[in-house]
């Protein structure tokens, strides 16, 4: 599973991308975020407030209950501010 981080999520976690293999118990977006929060202080800080964390699964916006699977590309980022 490839994870991509953007904007201040990237700054807080300290990298732009990584490949991870979460346990099988991680089946959805909410579960993935919980698993990531336990990986270290930077993750916990970046993902502390779900209200300002957006997730895309394979480049489409996803909700907490949407499934994630090995091989997916997961983007994690703040609310967008373009335009």
């Amino acid at each position: 599973m490839k994870l991509l981080y953007f904007a201040w999520v990237r700054s807080k976690i300290g990298m732009a991308a990584e490949t991870v293999s979460p346990p099988e118990s991680v089946r959805d977006v909410a579960g993935l975020l919980d698993w990531l929060r336990a990986r270290g202080a930077g993750y916990a800080d970046a993902l502390a407030n779900p209200a300002v964390v957006r997730v895309a699964v394979n480049q489409r916006f996803a909700r907490p209950a949407d499934p994630v699977a090995p091989g997916d590309e997961i983007g994690i980022f703040p609310p967008v501010t373009g335009g």
């Binding site: 904007a7 300002v52 983007g75 980022f77 703040p78 967008v80 501010t81 373009g82 335009g83």
Partner: protein, 157 residues
Amino acid sequence: MAVRIQEADFDVGAEMAALSAGRSDVGGVASFVGLVRDIAGGTAVTAMTLEHYPGMTEGELERVEAEACARWPLQASLIVHRVGALKPGDNIVLVITASRHRQAAFSAAEFLMDYLKSSAPFWKKEIDAEGRAGWVEARASDERAAERWQLPARADD
């Protein structure tokens, strides 16, 4: 229908002319240009950096453009969004719509901008006169602007 993400500036006049060049069925062309402001939340802004999610950005903009084409009889449209280092007064975004009649062109351009602001994965970082950098926070008013275009849910959804 086209979407471009680029670091380079764009020429509004040339882009508008290109959209209707060689055709006589276009009745009106509407455009919107977004610029970098020199003040944000009472603080002077001296520079801005725009980053995006390559791949997803293009996908979201193409989806939004297709949605606009489904709602209004557009003959052509273009979205250009810049990324990278910008300064106050610089162009950020360009939306152009062409249709037989003005109402579709105006409405579709507004729809494209509202949806782009709430769904395209771009992030702005502003730098002030002291060199302090801060990520721009999303505005609830932008979310509401996009929501007003949503159709009532169908009974069979």
